[in-house]
């Protein structure tokens, strides 16, 4: 498996903000010389604290950077093409169909004025999966069938009814599932999931993680899983890349990084998990009663 050609190869990627967009002193790069491979069928965990550049790395891959940010050096190889050199029109074909992204905040990423069904139909239409149909009626029913299929795949109950609902009528967990369905709509070969479980309660988080893992396995997709939560990434990732201040701090097979961290930063992250290695003592032990209340 390791000798197979990786599906995505990122080399020496540098993304920086222009000074007037908060580029910082001396043009500190938000993503600074980042390199990694996503193995075919593997799950790469991209880990870091907020501001470490993990989301920007993902957005650089799809060239969906916020205003003022540009990738200025490096290469991103996908499917034999360097995405950084691809013209916008060509890159459009890669987005969604080659590489799809599940964005961090469903409340923001979903349109609040379109029903779930409409949003899925738009994605399906853009993917070309509806084919070239001349009759609107046929197009509609094709979109409807495929959307129902997608919602069933992400284990949303009562798919037909769900298509008529607006995002605000769904629970947080359901919205994540809709986001995943949208990501799958174009049958990508690489899925980028940006904090797909952050902000969910533990039971729902476990459900969504299970679902993602199952879908990736079933479709033979590869995935980049972005998170700040070391425990979550440990559950899913086969490879790990740890970012801090835009630089790769540590990278390697997930098991190796977690069991024998080479870098002090990784070790400190591991130590910040309560109960891990039984290191941190509980806040106050049984025998405590230091001083009566004032």
């Amino acid at each position: 498996m390791p000798d197979a050609e990786p599906i995505l190869r990122v080399r020496h990627l540098v993304t920086r903000f222009e000074p007037e967009f908060g580029g910082g002193p001396a043009g500190r790069a938000a993503v600074d010389d980042v390199s990694f491979d996503v193995p075919r069928g593997g799950i790469l965990g991209l880990l870091g604290e907020s501001g470490s550049g993990k989301s920007l790395t993902a957005l650089s891959i799809l060239r969906l950077l916020p205003p003022g940010a540009h990738s200025v050096a490096g290469s991103i190889e996908f499917d034999g093409k360097n995405l950084l050199e691809l013209p916008e029109s060509e890159l459009r074909k890669v987005r969604g169909r080659g590489i799809a992204m599940i964005f961090q905040e469903p409340a923001l990423a979903l349109s609040s004025v379109h029903t779930v069904g409409e949003q899925l139909a738009i994605a399906l239409h853009a993917s070309g999966r509806l084919g070239r149909v001349r009759w609107l009626q046929t197009l509609r029913s094709a979109a409807h069938t495929l959307s129902c299929e997608l919602l069933t795949r992400v284990e949303l109950p009562d798919a037909k009814k769900m298509l008529e609902l607006y995002p605000h009528q769904l629970s947080a967990g359901m919205r994540r599932r809709v986001m995943i369905a949208l990501g799958l709509a174009c049958r990508p070969s690489l899925l980028i999931a940006d904090e797909p479980t952050t902000g969910l309660d533990a039971p729902i988080q476990a459900q969504v993680l299970d679902l993602l893992l199952r879908l990736v396995r079933e479709d033979g997709m590869s995935m980049i899983f972005i998170t700040h939560d070391l425990c979550v990434v440990a559950e899913v990732a086969t490879e790990l890349v740890l970012l801090s201040a835009g630089k790769v701090v540590e990278a390697g097979p997930a098991r190796r990084v977690l069991d024998q961290p080479q870098h002090a930063y990784t070790a400190s992250l591991l130590d910040s998990i309560p109960g891990h290695r039984d290191r941190p003592a509980p806040i106050a032990s049984e025998g405590r009663a230091p001083g009566a209340a004032p």
Partner: protein, 347 residues
């Protein structure tokens, strides 16, 4: 520093209770406003929840969002009026205290909010934020205004030091602080009045892992120094078990299990608590237990479930009595502190 000195006349109970704070059979029902032609609906946010917090103790409160954790925390602080039940503080029933009588108690009862940045006034400087509670409660009042200012400034510096924030920040505004610094500032503000009880409502949920541990360690150090109690509200069972002596698990507005943190970690008896324990992601694959995933969505507060609130998601539920009657919260052993509300608890 006694907060009892300004307290109003008391309706003293039989004897001094060992608890600092006690909630007895607290319920809170909200009336959801009518939407369109729909009928008014009643949301049972908290139902018959009892809780006791001893001086210097940390009690954890876990549950999914919408389970009523925050409402219970607010009931204890008298920020929300209970529909039924009583709140006792320091041996006095404060359920029906007027706001005027509550004010001296407010000093002793503080709260940390999840979104620290939103809970801070963004037009005030850090120094002003910390001086405001001191001024309201007249803690730094001196003969002249100038002397008061000096004393205020001293206390603000002291507070910043306690939460390990640099003195230079006192002229900054909250927008210039990081989220971890905002949370430290809220802690300093809560401590300004030397409280005896602090409700921590998801204080670390929006922080990074490293910041989370730092804040938790700070809270622990402050407790050891000042001896106040915490009610630590979180959906993160791992963190709650780590830092509390006792833990209450809430589901759909009811306490379904309570006991010592160690007991719950090793011998949780309610299927929901067990499922929560299973749902926690683990770094160590050896510790990853055989997963029992909770099916389905958390319950809707609008549609009360007949019978045990957990039965639609419970792998052990039987038609009788789970679907007909809600199980009472009962001690697992006579006189024990471990209580569970389940007809067929796990062993």
């Amino acid at each position: 520093m006694s907060s009892a000195e300004a307290a109003p006349e008391l309706d003293t109970p039989g004897g001094p209770a060992p608890e600092l704070l006690r909630g007895v059979q607290l319920s809170k029902f909200f009336v959801a406003p009518r939407a369109g032609l729909k009928k008014q609906r009643i949301v049972r946010a908290v139902q018959e929840a009892s809780i006791e917090i001893a001086p210097g103790e940390t009690v954890g409160l876990v549950g999914e969002s919408g389970s009523g954790k925050t409402t219970l925390g607010r009931l204890l602080l008298r920020l929300v009026e209970p529909t039924f039940g009583q709140v006792w503080f320091d041996g006095r029933e404060i359920t029906h205290y007027h706001e005027r009588d509550l004010r001296p108690l407010r000093r002793s009862l503080q709260v940390l909010f999840q979104d620290a940045a939103a809970a801070l006034d963004d037009r005030l400087t850090v120094g002003e934020i910390l001086a405001e509670p001191l001024r309201i409660h007249g803690l730094t009042r001196e003969r002249t205004r100038a002397l008061t200012r000096v004393k205020e400034r001293e206390r603000v510096a002291e507070l910043l030091r306690t939460v390990q924030l640099p003195m230079e920040l006192s002229s900054r505004r909250p927008a210039e602080l990081s989220s971890g610094q905002c949370q430290r500032l809220s802690i300093a503000r809560a401590l300004a009045l030397r409280p005896r009880f602090i409700v921590c409502d998801e204080p670390i949920a929006s922080l990074d892992a490293v910041d989370q541990l730092r804040i938790v360690e700070l809270l622990g150090a402050l407790q050891r120094e000042h001896g106040h109690s915490y009610l630590f509200i979180s959906h993160d069972l791992r963190m709650v078990l780590h830092l509390s002596q006792r833990v209450l698990v809430m589901y759909a507005g009811r306490v379904v299990e309570s006991g010592d943190a160690r007991t719950l970690r090793e011998h949780a008896r309610h299927p929901y608590t067990r499922a929560l324990l299973h749902a926690v992601p683990e770094v160590d694959p050896k510790r990853r237990r055989l997963r029992v995933l909770l099916e389905g969505e958390p319950p809707s507060p609008f549609e009360p479930t007949l019978g045990c609130p957990f039965h639609p998601r419970c792998p052990r539920a039987l038609p009788d009595p789970c679907q007909h009657e809600a199980p009472p919260l009962q001690a697992t052993a006579p006189g024990g502190r471990h209580e569970v509300a389940c007809w067929y608890p796990l062993t």
